[in-house]
């Protein structure tokens, strides 16, 4: 269970990205975070595994206060939390396989890994993960040779080999076309349903939200302005929608 309590993030230039955000995520939930660009979705996700240091508040992950951990403890928590990025964030110059193996960095012997050496079983595990996302034959290509959708699948494979208990996904499909978007979201859904991985995912398109979310929170200007279940989303009114996306927003397609 993840409990976020009074989380506030103020950047050094004075921007208040998150203001007193509190919510709880039960194990196995598929929580979708919606909101405009700049509403604080990315900051929230990055605060949870502390790629960004929160200014105030606590983040409790199975009753461990993530915000209070030292570096070594934080690394042990991070390896159980996968992260999928909008811009994929692959290391473009490395082969696909090494990109996936990077997901094992928190587990393997750190000294060997510095020379890009991973034991046989780790390599096997990475190949299996690539198989899962259908990219086994690309294992030895350079990551930069892949298309956008393939890159995101590698990103998912990298999160998969972490054997995560929770997956944070920051607009994982915003850079992809709608067909690819559904295929990527499908992987997340299977991860959620088959392996029981808790998923926190920020999304832009309302139809994707309605299709995949079990619960939704809406952010606006760093505050939670909406909280609801999948059913609530399906019944969402234009007023509620505008509250999250602002007055000028229109519902697209739904």
């Amino acid at each position: 269970m993840l409990r976020v309590e009074h989380l506030t993030k103020v950047y050094e230039n004075g921007t208040v990205a998150l203001k007193d955000v509190s919510f709880t995520v039960e194990d196995g939930e598929f929580l979708v975070i919606i909101g405009l660009s700049g509403s604080g979705k990315s900051t929230l996700l990055r605060c949870i595994n502390r790629i960004i240091e929160p200014t105030e508040g606590r983040i409790l992950w199975n009753d461990i206060d993530i915000t209070a951990l030292n570096e070594a403890e934080l690394r042990r928590v991070r390896r159980e939390i996968g992260f999928v990025f909008q811009e994929f964030n692959l290391v473009e110059r490395l082969p696909v396989l090494l990109n996936v193996l990077a997901g094992r960095l928190g587990y393997v012997n750190p000294w060997w890994s510095l020379f890009y050496y991973f034991p046989k079983e780790e390599q096997e595990r990475a190949l299996v993960a690539l198989e899962t996302v259908g990219l086994r034959e690309k294992a030895y290509n350079r990551a930069s040779d892949l298309s956008g959708g393939q890159k995101q699948r590698v990103g998912i494979a990298r999160a998969l080999v972490q054997e995560p208990k929770m997956l944070l996904a920051d607009e994982p499909v915003a850079s992809l076309d709608p067909v690819l978007a559904h295929s990527i979201m499908g992987y997340l859904e299977r991860l959620n349903q088959e392996r029981g991985v808790t998923i926190l995912c920020s999304l832009h398109y309302l139809d994707l939200v309605q299709r995949y979310a079990t619960r939704v929170i809406g952010l606006r200007d760093g505050r939670i302005v909406y909280e609801g279940t999948r059913e609530d989303i399906r019944r969402m009114t234009d007023e509620e929608f505008k509250q999250i996306y602002g007055e000028e927003a229109q519902r697209l397609g739904a």
Binding site: R75, R76, R78, E80, F83, L105, S113
Partner: protein, 707 residues
């Protein structure tokens, strides 16, 4: 009212340039106008005050006047045009009229200067010319400054009107003024350069086409020899008279024996026997030389006894006469001696296809230079890579620790450095002491001390950071306050000493300053401790201490200072350190390369995508793993490109380093230039040019592929 305001503003600007603009609301504009005008005025006064700048050198003066006038009128033209554009741009029909005027002006300038210029150069005598030059300068500067002033008044007016304003006229006038002043300060004298080029021509020719000196040549010569006995042997026969031979050079000398000439103490010569010399079989139209060989085989050109260079007739023969020269005969040589007379005709030089000694030397030195560059680049890289990570903003700025961690880190630094020093000293003494092996011991010590310090900093810092989390509050406070006080004292002590020996020594003299040095150190330590105790109080238990930013700042500072000292100066240091030779050059280039590459590398690191770093950190990777997986793959191509570029620079630099004794081809080059062997110097220059452009081409094409 409005008109009144404009007039007031314009008047203010007339008094102080820029004031009107500032009053009218354009404060920044007013400031720049004031700055530009006052700097140019000050510069004019300064240059005008140095009127005796070239008192002796007056030959080129009239030509300089010509040059300056030409230059000024050109820029005046540009200025006029820009002012016009700024002023009347909107009046379209005026444009054509202006263009015509501009064209006429240009024609007038060209005509006047082609006609008047040479007249001026010829007529004006040097002292007058100097005065005329000076007056011209004053005149031009007065016009420029007046123009600037007027522009400024008009600008103030327009600002007050609220109209669109431009900088064009201002920039043109300032540029014109600066360039005119510049020609005087630098003493630019194009005519002189043209006039005196001839003397350079020969040297330049040698340097530009030195390839004759790159090869060995065999001299072929025609030679014929006759024997002469001196004195004539009583009772026996002198050597037989030669007979002319067909198809080869011959010489016939008669008589074949006689008396030597004698030179007395005053140098006066009493002639001996006159010889008649006939020769043939030589190349017609060219000269032959007569050489004398004494009985022990030394050959010399006889002096004062007759012509020794004779023109060969069209049939290849010649006839001449020569007294037997004065030859010093060793006292043990008694009786008649056999001398030889040679007739020598130097022939064409024969190309052997072998490289000359100098060319071999140059090639060898070039190889040395390339190697110096290569080794310095590699050694520089080894040090620059870790330094660049410390000097990368994006890697260092989020690095922080608790105050307790800082205490541990600083003590670790000192301890590690000390241990490293001790080990280095032991190893050094095993190698025969610092005197015997200065560089290896110093390098080793440097590495050990630095490495020990970094390791100590890291290990002890972390250890204390973790340990203190398990300690009670009072213990943490004790570590913090105690440690900070010690750090403060440790920093303050040398500062106090430095104050005494540095600043006080200047004011009071060495001895008095030395007397108070200890007190000063103590005061410094006390103040430092106090300051750090305050820090310990302010930062509290948590801090955080942005240790990364400190390391970043210090590393950057070191890199910048080292980089701003030219390799040439490092070369001098290297020569003093390890003596003349390539090793000194290597040291100089390595030091500079570390700083230069450190900066370039760190900027490459700063420009990488942060995304992969986030991604790798998210997997639970530690700092080193993040660097290896997210940073290194991104920066490696840039690192390689920069290193190649640096190699290229280093090879070029190593030639310069050679000038101060740092080995390589530069060493050879400066020697040849000093020995006035311009052809050989030309070889060196060519080799450098070929090597540098080849390397440039290679590194450019490799870089293009990498980045």
């Amino acid at each position: 009212m409005k008109v009144l305001k404009r007039i007031g503003v314009a008047l203010l600007s007339l008094l102080v340039p820029g004031l009107g603009q500032a009053v009218a609301g354009a404060v920044r504009r007013g400031f720049y106008v004031f700055l530009g005008t006052s700097i140019l005025s000050g510069l004019s006064i300064f240059v005008a005050a140095q009127r005796a700048r070239f008192p002796e050198e007056v030959y080129g003066t009239s030509a300089r006047i010509f040059f300056i006038l030409l230059l000024s009128s050109f820029f005046l033209l540009v200025a006029l045009r820009l002012i016009y554009l700024a002023l009347i741009r909107r009046v379209a029909q005026d444009e054509i009229l202006y263009r015509v005027g501009e064209g006429l002006f240009l024609v007038a300038v060209v005509v006047v200067f082609t006609l008047a210029g040479p007249q001026l150069i010829e007529r004006v005598a040097p002292p007058q010319a100097e005065r005329l030059l000076y007056m011209t300068l004053l005149l031009v500067m007065a016009v420029v400054l007046a123009g600037l002033w007027l522009w400024n008044v008009q600008d103030a007016w327009r600002v007050a009107e609220g109209r669109e304003v431009s900088w064009n006229g201002f920039i043109a006038l300032v540029l014109l003024g600066t360039l005119v002043l510049g020609t005087r300060v630098v003493g630019i004298d194009l005519p002189k350069a043209i006039r005196e080029y001839r003397e350079t021509e020969r040297i330049l020719g040698d340097i530009l086409w030195p390839w004759r000196a790159a090869f060995d040549y065999k001299a072929t010569e025609l030679r014929a020899t006759a024997k002469v006995q001196a004195p004539c042997p009583p009772g026996s026969t002198p050597p037989p008279v030669n007979q002319p031979k067909e198809g080869e050079p011959w010489v016939v000398v008669t008589p074949t024996c006689g008396e030597l000439s004698v030179r007395d103490e005053k140098g006066k010569l009493t002639y001996g026997t006159l010889l008649t010399i006939r020769g043939g079989g030589f190349v017609p139209g060219k000269k032959v030389k007569i050489k004398w060989e004494n009985p022990i085989g030394n050959e010399f050109t006889p002096r004062g006894v007759g012509p020794t260079e004779i023109e060969v007739g069209p049939d290849g023969t010649f006839t001449t006469q020569l007294y037997i020269p004065d030859v010093v005969i060793p006292s043990f040589a008694k009786g008649p001696q056999i001398h030889k007379l040679h007739v020598v005709q130097p022939g064409a030089l024969e190309f052997t296809g072998k490289l000359s000694r100098e060319m071999k030397l140059a090639l060898q030195a070039m190889l040395e230079s390339i190697m110096i560059g290569l080794m310095a680049t590699f050694a520089g890289m080894v040090f620059a890579v870790p330094m660049s990570f410390l000097a990368a903003r994006n890697l260092m700025f989020n690095l922080r620790t608790s105050p307790q961690g800082l205490v541990g880190g600083v003590f670790g630094l000192v301890l590690g450095g000390y241990v490293g020093w001790q080990v280095a000293a032991r190893v050094g003494s095993m190698l025969g002491g610092i005197e015997k092996a200065p560089v290896s011991v110093a390098t080793l010590g440097f590495l050990l001390v630095g490495g020990g310090a970094v390791l100590g900093f890291r290990l002890l810092g972390r250890a204390l950071d973790r340990l203190s989390q398990r300690l009670p509050t009072w213990a943490r406070a004790a570590i913090r306050y105690g440690g900070f006080a010690l750090i403060g004292a440790g920093l303050g002590w040398p500062l106090g000493l430095g104050y005494a020996h540095g600043l006080l020594a200047i004011a009071w003299g060495e001895e008095q300053a030395a007397a108070v040095a200890t007190q000063m150190a103590q005061i410094g330590a006390g103040l430092g401790a106090l300051a750090w105790l305050y820090l310990a109080y302010r930062w509290g238990e948590e801090g955080p201490v942005y240790i990364g930013q400190w390391i970043y700042t210090v590393t950057r500072l070191i890199l910048n200072v080292v980089r701003s000292i030219e390799p040439l100066i490092w070369g001098l240091v290297g020569v003093i350190w390890v003596g003349l030779g390539p090793f000194a050059g290597f040291i100089a280039l390595t030091i500079h390369t570390i700083a230069a590459l450190g900066k370039l590398y760190s900027e490459a690191i700063e420009s990488i995508h942060p995304g992969p770093i986030e991604a790798i950190q998210s997997t639970g990777a530690n700092r080193l793993q993040t660097i290896m997986f997210a940073v290194l793959p991104q920066v490696l191509p840039h690192f390689t490109a920069f290193s190649l570029y640096r190699w290229d620079i280093n090879v070029r630099m190593s030639t310069v380093i050679g000038l101060v004794g740092g080995g390589g081809i530069g060493f050879l080059l400066i020697q040849w230039i000093r020995q006035v062997q311009y052809e050989h110097a030309g070889l060196a220059v060519w080799l450098i040019a070929i090597t540098v452009s080849t390397l440039d081409f290679i590194s450019a094409s490799v870089r293009k592929r990498l980045v």
